[in-house]
Symmetry: C2
Subunit: 217 residues, 2 copies
Amino acid sequence: MTKRPPLHYIREPSEIYAQSFATVRKEARLDRFDLSMQPLVTRLIHSCGMVEIADRLAFSPNAAREGMAALAAGAPVLCDCEMVGAGIIRRYLPTDNQVIVTLNDPSVPTLAKDIGNTRSAAAVELWRDHIDGAVVAIGNAPTALFHLLELLDQGWAKPACILGFPVGFVGAAESKAELAANPRGCNFIALRGRKGGSAMASAGVNALAAGLPEDRT
Amino acid sequence: MTKRPPLHYIREPSEIYAQSFATVRKEARLDRFDLSMQPLVTRLIHSCGMVEIADRLAFSPNAAREGMAALAAGAPVLCDCEMVGAGIIRRYLPTDNQVIVTLNDPSVPTLAKDIGNTRSAAAVELWRDHIDGAVVAIGNAPTALFHLLELLDQGWAKPACILGFPVGFVGAAESKAELAANPRGCNFIALRGRKGGSAMASAGVNALAAGLPEDRT
C-alpha cells in the first residue's frame, strides 16, 4: 500500500457550523427577509447547499413567528414521512413536542383505497385530532399537501404553520403554488417549483424550534 | 366559509411514478450513462427534483454493478445518519440486508473527543467490522466521508461501493472531490459540489436494491 498524504479538513463541529452559516450570510442577501425569517432561511439553505433557494421562497408575513409560538406553547409537529421526522433534532424542541408521522399506520393502505388517493394523502386524514394549531412539515409528497388543503377546505381547523417542501416532477410545484396562493388564510412557508425535500422540511422545524446555533446558549 | 372549487391533481401512485420518471427521461439525456447507471441516475434526479445534477455526477465505471451485486449477495448498508436509513425502502432490499446507522451509538460522543473529529466521523469508526464489501451511503456529513477515506488509507478493507452525497458549504465539495479523484481504487458514485443530501443517498441505495419501479414485477 502506498502511503498517502494526510487529508486536510475542518474537524471541529462549532467551526464547521460557524463557517457554514457565515457563507450563507455572505451569499444569500438575508436582509431582504424579516428578522423572524432569517434563521429559518439560513437553515433551509444550509440543509441543501443551495443559496439560490432564497429567491424562490414564498411565505406569509407571520409564518415564522406563529410557528415558533406554536412550538413554544407545546404544539405537535405533523410530518408526511419518516425522513422528515428523523431530521428533527429532538433536543431543540422547546416543550418536548410530539413528532407525529402517520404514514406507516396500519390503517393507511386501506384508507388510501377508500379515498382514492396515495398513502401519503391517506396518512394526512389521521392528523385530524392534532391539526388545530400544529406545525405541519411536508418534505416529500405533493399529494399530502394537496389533500391537507382539501381537508382545510372541508372545514378542518387551521394549523399554526405549514412548511411546504414536497419535491419532484408531478404535483410538487402545483401543490406549493396552491398553498402560496393562500385562499385559506393559513400561515405557510414554501419553496416554489420542483425543489424541496425532507431535509428542508426538517430544517424548517429545527429553525422554528431553536433558531440558529449561535442564538442558543 | 366560502366554498372553494375542487383541486385537480394526480392521485394514482403508479401514474405519479410513471409521469415522474417519464419527465426525467425526457429532460436528463440518460443515454450518456451506461445502462447499469440509468436507474440510479433516474432515482437520484427524482429524489431532488433537479435534472441538472446529472451533469455533475462522478462515478467509477463499475460502481452501480458492484453495488447491486453486493446487495444481492447480502452486504450491509452503512449510513452516516438516521435520515439516510429512514429513506431506504426496506422491502426493496434483495436479501433483507442490514441497514446500519452508528451515529447515535452511546460510544460516539467520547470517541469523537478521542479522535478530535465530529460525531459523524467517530461513527464511521464503528463500521470497521462491516466495511468489507459493504454499500456505504453518506448523505449528510463531509467529515464522515473524509474520515472513511482516512481509514481506507490506514488499511481498512474496501467497501463494494461508496455513495457520496454529503451536502453543504464546508467540506462537502472537497470530500467528494477527494473521493472522485479515487487514488484508493474504490467504486464510488458522487455528486460534485455543494449539493447532496440524505434523500439522494437513500435513492442511490434504493436504485441499487431494486432499479426502477417499472423494472420490478
